[in-house]
């Protein structure tokens, strides 16, 4: 073995050793604990629901809506005396929904949840349009987290008893509106953007309306439908990903794992390719040929 080979071998051996040690440390301390539980439901357990009362809203129909701050899913409720404490439901893995009980305005999630949440309050009388006459308000807010919408669209619907007016993204371009468990075909609804811009939309015969982009849905929309002196208000939001957030860092773990393992294998293969084992095989082959 020449000196050059010795140096090369030593260099690769040291390099491999360091990368191996660093990988082991990273895997043991940071990634494996997260990675081993890297399932959709388990990731939800890192999150919690927070109920927040707020005095200001962008427009009169914005009474209850969702916000997301890293691992906190905040249900914002306008602090009107008519609005009683909301009930929060989450779709569980077998597609039915279950109530999430709040303690000190915080709800802890467990593995059984799927990633789709809904909140509703008891119907109440309130003059929402300022005409001096109180209407019966049915208030709902639904959140589809990245766990239902991020990988591919998993359209979720709650039981009609839990949410009377329900909005769901059906595909990349269609949003469906259900009322009392049936699609609201050929009816007129009002859709408000997050900043309160109103648009009157007539639903098609399937009870859907078209969206060109889902930008509005990721900020949150409010759908208003009126029937028999009752006003049904449903806020709908899809969680969006943002770079450099806590959530984004967690998303990178599997990729870091893949790169770390891949480069360990690369170094190992390279050591095997350059080291004396391979050279010995070649020398033996040459000897065999010569003999």
């Amino acid at each position: 073995m020449s000196n050059l080979d010795k140096i090369k071998r030593k260099k690769y051996a040291i390099g491999f050793f360091f990368v191996f040690i660093i990988t082991i440390i990273i895997l043991m301390t940071k990634i494996i604990p997260s990675f081993m539980i890297f399932t959709q439901q388990k990731l939800l357990t890192d999150r919690h629901i927070v109920l927040d009362e707020i005095s200001e809203s962008s427009f009169e129909h914005q009474l209850m809506w969702w916000e997301i701050e890293d691992e906190k899913m905040i249900l914002e409720v306008k602090n009107l005396k008519e609005i009683k404490s909301p009930k929060i439901y989450g779709i569980v893995v077998d597609s039915k929904s279950d109530e999430i009980v709040l303690k000190n305005k915080e709800g802890i999630l467990d593995k059984k949840y799927f990633g789709s949440f809904n909140s509703s309050v008891e119907p109440f009388k309130y003059d929402i349009d300022g005409d001096g006459k109180k209407e019966t308000i049915n208030l709902f807010a639904k959140l589809d987290s990245v766990f239902t919408q991020g990988m591919a669209i998993n359209t979720t619907f709650f039981e009609k008893e839990k949410i009377k007016l329900e909005v769901s993204q059906l595909d990349f371009h269609h949003v469906g509106v259900k009322f009392n468990g049936a699609f609201l075909a050929n009816k007129e609804i009002s859709v408000y953007s997050k900043n309160g811009k109103e648009e009157r939309i007539k639903l098609d015969n399937r009870g859907t309306f078209k969206v060109n982009t889902i930008k509005g849905l990721t900020s949150g929309i409010t759908v208003v439908y009126s029937e028999n002196e009752s006003v049904y208000i449903s806020n709908y939001m899809i969680e969006r990903n943002s770079l450099f957030s806590e959530s984004y860092k967690k998303a990178l773990y599997p990729l870091i794992f893949v790169i770390a393992v891949a480069f360990d294998i690369i170094l190992l293969l390279n050591v095997l390719r350059f080291n004396p084992f391979r050279r010995r095989i070649v020398i033996e082959e040459i000897r065999n040929i010569e003999s």
């Binding site: 990245v146 990349f172 998303a251 990729l255 893949v258 891949a262 690369i266």
Partner: protein, 289 residues
């Protein structure tokens, strides 16, 4: 010119990689749909600004049942026109997976690790792998209701970069293999890529072509050595001037490594836009290789 052409390719590839991966964060939300390019660009992220058509093509049955005839016709026409205009330049310049592989190859050169030389026998094995991938990719979505995404190595690379949380699946194992193999063999995935094969079928009809001046060629074999797809006909062809093949990625490595003036050239609409030259050859000699 050569250096500039190479830099231009890297620049275009980097721009498209950033666009396909982080486009939504830069340009805002635009849902991938009708205009998806026939490349591997994981559109499983609903927030992509623009996408590849791989997702549609590997879920053909579901897609056809949920899409209107007009949209299907639009998709087919748009895909065909894209292939007609760009051919496999899509693979060489636009596909983000190609960019990742080229970065891995550059990294290997930087570390001064030897690449694995592929013999014709090994390329034959790759050919068998390619057919297996094509069958799983297309037939899986049509007959077996099997999603190629669950084993796609790109699923464990692109979506996490875009901030999408992925769950454990075989794609993580295949992603490790993808990185290892692409590190040692340049453009390994392109050799077995089902979308690449689909583009390749129509590539000869496209406006891009690889031309050879058989008189100028000295059969030195540098083009065969340089080709990441192991295309031999560029070396062996002695009559025809068009040496475009289905597998050619239009990466121009053969032109870069060709020592003979005008022996090989890239043509667009039959007009030679990039030619081999002695100067380019000497400029392009890489001491790491």
């Amino acid at each position: 010119m050569n250096r500039l052409a190479s830099k231009f390719r890297w620049f275009v590839m980097a721009i498209f990689f950033v666009f396909f991966t982080f486009g939504v964060h830069i340009f805002g939300l635009k849902v991938p749909s009708k205009f998806a390019l026939p490349i591997f660009s994981c559109p499983i992220n609903y927030e992509t600004s623009y996408g590849g058509s791989c997702f549609t093509l590997c879920h053909l049955k579901k897609w056809v049942s949920a899409t209107t005839t007009a949209d299907i016709v639009f998709f087919i026409v748009f895909t065909f026109i894209t292939i007609l205009i760009l051919g496999r330049l899509l693979c060489g310049y636009i596909c983000p997976v190609g960019f990742i592989q080229d970065v891995l190859d550059k990294f290997r050169q930087f570390l001064k690790f030897d690449q694995i030389k592929f013999s014709e026998k090994r390329y034959k094995i790759l050919n068998i792998m390619k057919w297996a991938t094509i069958i799983i990719f297309f037939a899986g979505g049509i007959f077996w209701e099997f999603s190629f995404c669950s084993i796609c190595p790109i699923l464990a690379i692109s979506p996490p970069l875009a901030g999408i949380k992925i769950v454990f699946s075989l794609s993580i194992v295949f992603a490790i293999l993808f990185i290892v193999l692409s590190f040692f063999k340049r453009r390994f995935w392109c050799n077995i890529c089902p979308i690449g094969y689909m583009i390749g079928v129509f590539h000869k009809l496209s406006f891009t072509s690889l031309k050879k001046d058989c008189q100028a060629c000295t059969e030195c074999g540098a083009c065969y050595e340089a080709c990441p797809m192991g295309i031999k006909i560029i070396l062996t062809e002695r009559e025809k001037d068009d040496v475009t093949t289905n597998d050619c990625l239009m990466c121009m490595e053969c032109i870069n490594k060709c020592p003979e003036k005008d022996a090989l050239s890239l043509a667009y609409f039959e007009k030679k836009i990039y030619k081999a030259s002695r100067k380019n050859f000497f400029e392009n000699q890489d001491i790491n290789e």
